[in-house]
Symmetry: C2
DNA sequence: AGATACCCGAGTAAATTAGTCAAGCTAAAG
DNA sequence: CTTTAGCTTGACTAATTTACTCGGGTATCT
């Protein structure tokens, strides 16, 4: 699992599509305007998202992108894996500090951490992110102390 | 929380110190030989580890490094934070795709993920890693199906 | 036809990582 | 008290990765 800004952009863009896809496909130009991501970069990202079956494209005027699946069935890990392909950070898949008796002292650790991160992101659906965004986008003046699911209970650590 | 090979090297080196620190301090040259990490690179890493109070240095002949604290009280997150200083991956701490009503659609998500990773690594002590290493280093010919703590229950995901 | 919008691959610039080098300081051994 | 092993410091370079651009396509609708 690699965590780069590329993956972040991709997730943001997917949320945007989910938010603004009311019947008509969403164009990259719109997303670019709303999220301040360069059009060319979006093209690159959506090429991958499409090839991985996360979005469907419609060409020609009035075209754009639709989600290929229900937002509840798309996880953040799906999105990140789609754009950040080269996957294993487990090191030692042929790396050099992995020898005889001092065999990969930490291999275990990283593999396990990786799995952790992956599992976590797998558990977050696009839908849940969209719902969060909708709540936050509603008139913030009158924010009732809300009781939605405790998605982030934490100290923005490190 | 940044996860780079630098952090991995640092953790590996710390395990090495913990493993071979029997009274005498451990020299970087030894670590370099055992773990195949360049001496100069180790110098850089241990400078940071020392400044963060994770190791103590002993100068002069017979010198080297000792752990500054009991391995049970040093967590992997301590080590990684020591060498990979610039900490926040939360984006949006002044980044550009964070505007008006489409405010940081994903901020929440990354902050939460960050906290997750951090908490996990904080829960892994150097001691536990050392114990794992010791087990693995024992005669591998006669590996009895062992029942030690289930540290990595997983599919080496992604 | 012509405008709209996706498609795609090569190319580049910036940032990060990994690793080097050289000069200096410290303390133990002889 | 001089030698010498070995840590200390920090600036410097090379390689890799990331982020992003560009230019020329192709499909489709009006």
């Amino acid at each position: 699992m690699k965590l780069t800004t590329k993956g972040r952009f991709a997730v943001t863009a997917m949320i945007d599509v989910a938010l603004f896809n009311h019947g008509e496909p969403v164009t990259l130009a719109e997303i670019s305007g709303r999220q301040k991501i360069s059009l060319s970069y979006l093209e690159q990202l959506f090429g991958k998202l499409r090839r991985h079956g996360l979005v469907d494209s419609v060409r020609g005027p009035g075209g754009g992108y639709n989600l290929a699946k229900a937002p509840g069935t798309i996880s953040v890990s799906d999105i990140i894996l789609a754009v950040d392909e080269p996957i294993d950070t487990t090191s030692c898949g042929g790396e050099k500090n992995c020898y005889d008796d001092s065999i990969c002292l930490t291999h275990h650790l990283w593999a396990s951490l990786n799995a952790h991160i992956f599992t976590y992101l797998q558990g977050v659906s696009l839908q849940s992110l969209v719902e969060d965004a909708k709540v936050r986008r509603s008139p913030s003046i009158h924010v009732v102390k809300d009781h939605r699911k405790p998605s982030a209970p934490l100290p923005v650590a490190a």
